[in-house]
Structures are given as structure tokens and as C-alpha cells.
């Protein structure tokens, strides 16, 4: 076991999969010599060569589109979008091909591709570097969407994503890249896609979150504990498919539900989670299922981002309101 941050954990997962399977390729912008702008792919080009780990011309549609071709030809591309805010030029390839190839060819061609991208805010970045738009991908049939909240999860989930024959959008909370260190097992292990994890059992309210906000919810839980509120915390891990069962079971027990997510509120993941709770646990509800989501705004630049990002206090405030409902 090594102590790793999320950058190292992702690197380790890529390393293991590159070593294990000659079909795995890693490419994107600055992932080679540079080792990625966040150093996530550091050392991999030296180790696996320029035909397996390489930089492309600066064009996201080209990156994803050529990866579709490689996948069809039997390879397993793991591509990087330098920031999730720059995935949009590739949107047509993702929605029209990555997500559809398997269905339209009735399984003849699957697309075992992973599209990795750092996402989310609170790193005092420039425009387009702080977005959390996972809901766009969650809404597209044919994709899986995965977001880890710890180095351990990042490694296990990424290995599973690379092994998946379905395309996976793998979003890495860049705010956590170097913020948490943790023991991560050596060698290969996987965490199943589509399963949530109950991080804390509790009685009064179910909180569902993922990515960088999990930590903030945990801090809010300390505040809640002081007022006698016991929170059940679920880390979604996979945003599609969503593990309805784990959520439902919990809400049936607690009767209260709060989702804590970063992206814009309207038609966001929080809305989906509220809907699931309604569908599967309506009769258990003692308060309206509630979402704490990002504002329906562009994330503000550095000076304003502390307003946009949910502080432990804000999360606690919502928990309290719900428990007191």
C-alpha cells in the first residue's frame, strides 16, 4: 500500500492498465512529454512509448473522433480532455457516435473508451475551468458517467472504466487532485460501476453527493452531529447508471433526502435524484426531497467562487432546515 493523492492514483490506474493490455492507449493534449497539465500522465510516455501515450493536435473533436475509430478497430483508448470545459467541441462525436455506436450496430461495434476530464471548481481558475456539467452526459443514452471522491475510488473506478466495454465519461474533481492523501492498494483492483457507497450510516436524513463535495458534506456532518442530527451519507460514485436501490433503501429509513451537487440546478443531477426518491420512496417521505445544487449561473471567477461552492455551513443549513421541517 502506498499513500497517494488522486493524481497519483489515476496515474497508477493508467500505468497498470497500460502494462496489462497492449490495446490500451492514452492520448490527448499535453499528456506525453508534459505528463498532463495536472501531471496525471507523468512518466507514462517514457514507460510505454510514443505510440501508446501521445499528444495530439489541439482539437477535441479530433481526439474523441479518432478514438472512436481506434475503438472500432479493437483498441481501448483512454483520452484526456484537458478540462471538462473544453469537451464541447467533441460533443457531437460523443453524443452522435461514442454513445450510439453499440446500439446502432446492435452490438457489433462497442466503444470501450474512457474520456477522462478534470472538472469542478474552487481552484481559483480562469473562465471555463470550473464547470461541473456532468448532467449533460448523464442525460445522453449510451454513456456511463463516473466521478470519484477519493484516491482509492479514483484508482478502482478508473480501472473498472477502462475494462468496461461501454464508453465511460470519467470526471475527476480537480479540487481534490492533491487535497487528499490516502492508502491505496498496490496493483490492480476494481470498484464496480453503477454502485453507490454508503459512507456513513445515520438516522435522520439521507444525503447523496459525489466528487469534491463529499468532503464538504462530511464536514457539515460534524456540524450536524453537534446539534444531534445523524446523517446517512451516500457517495454516488457512478452518476449513470445511478444506484437507485441504495438511495431508496436509505430514504425509506430516514424519511428525508438532500442531494448536494455542484453543477447548475435546473435539470441537473439533483433533479434526477429527487425524482428517483419520489418514485421509489414517496410514502416514506417526511419532508420534501431537496437539492442543494449550484446556482443556475456560470461559475463565478476566483473572487466569487466561495459564494458558488457549497460550504460545510451551507450544507449544514440545508440539512437542519430539512430535519426541522
Amino acid at each position: 500500500m502506498k499513500i497517494m493523492n488522486m493524481v497519483q492514483a489515476v496515474n497508477d490506474a493508467l500505468d497498470i492498465m497500460l502494462a496489462q493490455d497492449g490495446k490500451v492507449l492514452v492520448f490527448g493534449e499535453d499528456v506525453g512529454v508534459e505528463g498532463g497539465v495536472f501531471r496525471v500522465t507523468e512518466g507514462l510516455q517514457q514507460k510505454y512509448g510514443e505510440d501508446r501515450v501521445f499528444d495530439t493536435p489541439l482539437a477535441e473533436s479530433g481526439i474523441v473522433g479518432t478514438a472512436v475509430g481506434m475503438a472500432v478497430a479493437g483498441l481501448r483508448p483512454v483520452v484526456e480532455m484537458q478540462f471538462s470545459g473544453f469537451v464541447y467541441p467533441a460533443f457531437n462525436q460523443i453524443i452522435s457516435h461514442v454513445a450510439r455506436m453499440r446500439n446502432r450496430t446492435r452490438g457489433r461495434y462497442s466503444i470501450p473508451m474512457v474520456i477522462r476530464m478534470p472538472y469542478g471548481g474552487f481552484i481559483r481558475a480562469i473562465e471555463h475551468h470550473s464547470e461541473s456539467m456532468e448532467a449533460l452526459f448523464v442525460h445522453i443514452p449510451g454513456l456511463k458517467v463516473v466521478i470519484p471522491s477519493t484516491p482509492y475510488d479514483a484508482k478502482g473506478l478508473l480501472v473498472a472504466a477502462i475494462e468496461s466495454d461501454d464508453p465511460v465519461i470519467f470526471m475527476e474533481p480537480k479540487r481534490l487532485y492533491r487535497a487528499i492523501k490516502q492508502e491505496v492498494p498496490d496493483g490492480k483492483f476494481t470498484i464496480p460501476l453503477g454502485k453507490a457507497k454508503v459512507l456513513a450510516t445515520g438516522e435522520h436524513i439521507t444525503v447523496v453527493s459525489y466528487g469534491a463535495l463529499v468532503r464538504e458534506v462530511q464536514k457539515a456532518m460534524s456540524l450536524a452531529k453537534k446539534t444531534g442530527i445523524s446523517v446517512e451519507l451516500i457517495d454516488l460514485r457512478s452518476i449513470y447508471p445511478i444506484d437507485r436501490e441504495t438511495i431508496t433503501r436509505s430514504v425509506q429509513k430516514t424519511g428525508r433526502f438532500l442531494s448536494v451537487t455542484e453543477g447548475p440546478r435546473t435539470a441537473g443531477v439533483g433533479a434526477e435524484l429527487m425524482s428517483i426518491v419520489n418514485e421509489d420512496a414517496f410514502l416514506s417521505l417526511e419532508a420534501p426531497p431537496t437539492r442543494l445544487a449550484g446556482f443556475d449561473t456560470v461559475p463565478p471567477l476566483a473572487q466569487g467562487e466561495h459564494h458558488y461552492h457549497h460550504s460545510p455551513e451551507r450544507i449544514f443549513y440545508e440539512i437542519k432546515k430539512l430535519v426541522e421541517y
Binding site: L25, D51, T56, P57, A59, S61, G62, V64, G65, T66, A67, V68, G69, M70, A71, V72, A73, G74, L75, P77, P89, N92, Q93, S96, H97, R102, N103, R104, T105, R106, G107, R108, Y109, S110, P141, G142, K144, S164, D165, D166, G194, Y240, P241, I242, R244, E245
Partner: protein, 372 residues
């Protein structure tokens, strides 16, 4: 002709390079040889087969249009007048080579092993028409314009990476050259020296939009300069010129020298699709002009002059084709449809949530039946 008199294929890409301002033409509009030194080496059988393939494609195409008119099939994009291009590619393409089509290359699909049944299934509203089980290394139609080109570049990379000698043929229209994906695909392929032959079917229109307004570039072939790869403009209605160009390009790609861009100058003699009325945007005089340059007419002219073809063969052959094609159409009409197919192919394993949607829908179907 003696082979010593024909010039080398690679030299062709230079002599007719994108900046030469020349269009490669071997047959005139009547099928007379006007550039003997560039005549591709084809056996009489190959010539005849090519003509028959064009004839088959044309027959199938016209039948597709008429099935659509009868309301037995949905919107279909005719290939009429562009048959030489696909057949030429088909004659050079090997079994293990890849074909990455747009949606107007009937003749090339057939060459790759797609059946008319597959094609009818697709345009008859069956997803099964994109399986193309008989066509090795072929992708289904790509409807979003130019989005298939990066796939071709990626497959090209994969061939190189896997140490294979197979190459990729991919198609796009004149309109498609304006899309960002055209640019990115050619640029990636250029940087990677990927073994891809990009074929632009410049049929003069993108639906109603004429080539002249699509780009201010002198030719579409000239766009190759921007990617540091060879480009060549060819008379796409001249089967022999197309074969010469595709052979040269394929040789270039297969030899590890990277991609080639071919602009095949042709004309969409039919409508854009069966929903389109070309009368709104082009003249009969223009259509007539291009009818005179028809690729079948020209190759037949050549074959007749070489006494390789007997006009009286044609009718019976077409009848035979029609029977075969109609048979395949009937198979399509009897093809089963299972609503569960809507749900089960998106993922290797159906997600619970989606399964619940399927189950809920089936419940509704049962309820509905119970109401009758």
C-alpha cells in the same frame, strides 16, 4: 497498351498534385481514351465486372427510389450518377481494408459485402440495417456530416499501431469539407501519416447549396495543402481515372507514406434524398449537361469500342438484377421487429433503471391488450 508505357502511380499524385490545377481524366465523355499513358492496368474481365457493378448499383438505386415512392421504404439518398467512384474504390479496396462511409456510396458498400437487404433494412427503419454482418471492416452510414472522417483517421492509426498493412477508405461530400471534423481528421491523419484515403464526392451540391458557395478555394483537392498531404482532383465520372487515382492513393497509404485526399468531381443526378426537389435550385440544362457525362455511359462507350461488351447483354442482366434485388427487398419487408431491441443494445449489460423502463412499458402493452 504495354505496361512499360504507363507511368508510375506515385508520380501521378505529383503530376496531378493539388496545386497543378489539373483534373485527371482518362476517358472523354464518349468513353474515348484521351490519356493512354495513365490507363490503369485492368484485365478485360475486371473492366466488365466494373461495368456490371455499376449497373447493379444503378439498378438497385433506382429500385430503392421507387420503393420509397410506393411508400414501402423511407427517405433514401440516391447514388445516381456517382457509381464510378464507389465501384473504383471497391475494385482497389481489399477484404481487410476498412470502409468508413458517409451515406451516399451504395456502390462502395456493395463492394465491401453489404447486401441490398442490409441497405433496405436501414432505409426501411430497422436498426438491424447497420449491422452489416457480411461486410468485413465496414462502418455503418454516418449521417452527421463529416463526423465519420475522424473515425477513419483513428482506424488508420490503429492499423499502423497494430502493424497491419490494411488501409482505410472514407467518403465525404463537397458540403462536408466545410465541417470542422473534416479539418481535424485530415490534420490528425497528416500528422500521424495514417494510411487513409479520403475521397470527396464533389457532386456539386450540398442539398441546394452549390459547390461554388461552399468554399472560396480553387478546388477541394487543394485543401490537402493545409495538412501537408497529397491531394488530387479526378473526374469522378471517369471510371478509369478513378481507378488510377485510387490505386495511386492506396499504394501511397499502404507504403506508409500517409493519407491522400482525392476530390472526385461528379454530379448527383438524382435528388438529394427522396424528400428533395432539385428543381428548386438547379436547371434542367445543367442536369442535361451532366447526363452527358454519365459514368456508365462513358465506361460502356469504352467497353463497346474495345468490343468487351455486347449491348444485348444489358436488358437480361438488368432483369436478373431486379429479381435479386426485389428478393432482398421482400426479405426486408418480412424482417421481424422486437421492441426489446430498443433497450438492450445500448450497454453490454442493461442498467437496472433502463430495464425498469422496459418492464414498465411491457406492462403497459399488456394492459393495453387487456383493454381490447
Amino acid at each position: 497498351m504495354s505496361s512499360s508505357k504507363t507511368k508510375s502511380k506515385t508520380a501521378l499524385l505529383e503530376e496531378y498534385g493539388a496545386l497543378s490545377g489539373k483534373m485527371l481524366q482518362i476517358l472523354d465523355y464518349e468513353g474515348r481514351v484521351i490519356l493512354a499513358e495513365r490507363l490503369p492496368k485492368l484485365s478485360p474481365e475486371e473492366m466488365v465486372t466494373a461495368y456490371q457493378n455499376m449497373l447493379y448499383a444503378r439498378t438497385a438505386d433506382q429500385m430503392a427510389v421507387s420503393y420509397q415512392r410506393q411508400g414501402r421504404m423511407y427517405t433514401y439518398p440516391p447514388n445516381l450518377g456517382q457509381e464510378a467512384i464507389g465501384v473504383a474504390v471497391g475494385s482497389v479496396m481489399r477484404e481487410d481494408d476498412w470502409l468508413v462511409p458517409a451515406y451516399r456510396e451504395l456502390s462502395a458498400w456493395l463492394a465491401k459485402g453489404a447486401s441490398m437487404k442490409d441497405i433496405f433494412l436501414y432505409f426501411g427503419g430497422h436498426e438491424d440495417g447497420s449491422v452489416l454482418a457480411g461486410a468485413k471492416n465496414m462502418l455503418p452510414s454516418a449521417v452527421p456530416i463529416a463526423s465519420q472522417l475522424p473515425h477513419a483517421a483513428g482506424i488508420g492509426y490503429a492499423m499502423k499501431y497494430q502493424g497491419k498493412k490494411d488501409i482505410v477508405f472514407t467518403f465525404v461530400g463537397d458540403g462536408g469539407t466545410s465541417q470542422g471534423d473534416f479539418h481535424e481528421a485530415l490534420n490528425f491523419a497528416g500528422v500521424w501519416r495514417a494510411p487513409v484515403v479520403f475521397i470527396i464526392q464533389n457532386n456539386q451540391y450540398a442539398i441546394s447549396h452549390p459547390r461554388a458557395h461552399q468554399t472560396a478555394a480553387k478546388s477541394l483537392a487543394v485543401k490537402a495543402e493545409g495538412y501537408g498531404i497529397p491531394g488530387i482532383q479526378v473526374d469522378g465520372n471517369d471510371y478509369l481515372a478513378m481507378v488510377a487515382a485510387v490505386k495511386a492513393a492506396a499504394e501511397h497509404a499502404r507504403a506508409g507514406q500517409g493519407p491522400v485526399l482525392i476530390e472526385a468531381v461528379t454530379y448527383r443526378r438524382g435528388a438529394h434524398t427522396t424528400s428533395d426537389d432539385p428543381g428548386r435550385y438547379r436547371t434542367e440544362a445543367e442536369e442535361q449537361k451532366w447526363a452527358e457525362r454519365d459514368p456508365l455511359k462513358r465506361l460502356k462507350g469504352y467497353l463497346l469500342a474495345q468490343q468487351l461488351w455486347d449491348e444485348t447483354n444489358e436488358e437480361p442482366l438488368i432483369s436478373q438484377y431486379k429479381k435479386e434485388i426485389d428478393q432482398q427487398f421482400t426479405e426486408m419487408e418480412n424482417h421481424p421487429y422486437d421492441f426489446k431491441d430498443i433497450f438492450i443494445h445500448h450497454y453490454t449489460e442493461i442498467p437496472d433503471d433502463l430495464k425498469q423502463q422496459m418492464v414498465a412499458y411491457e406492462k403497459f402493452l399488456n394492459w393495453k391488450e387487456s383493454q381490447q
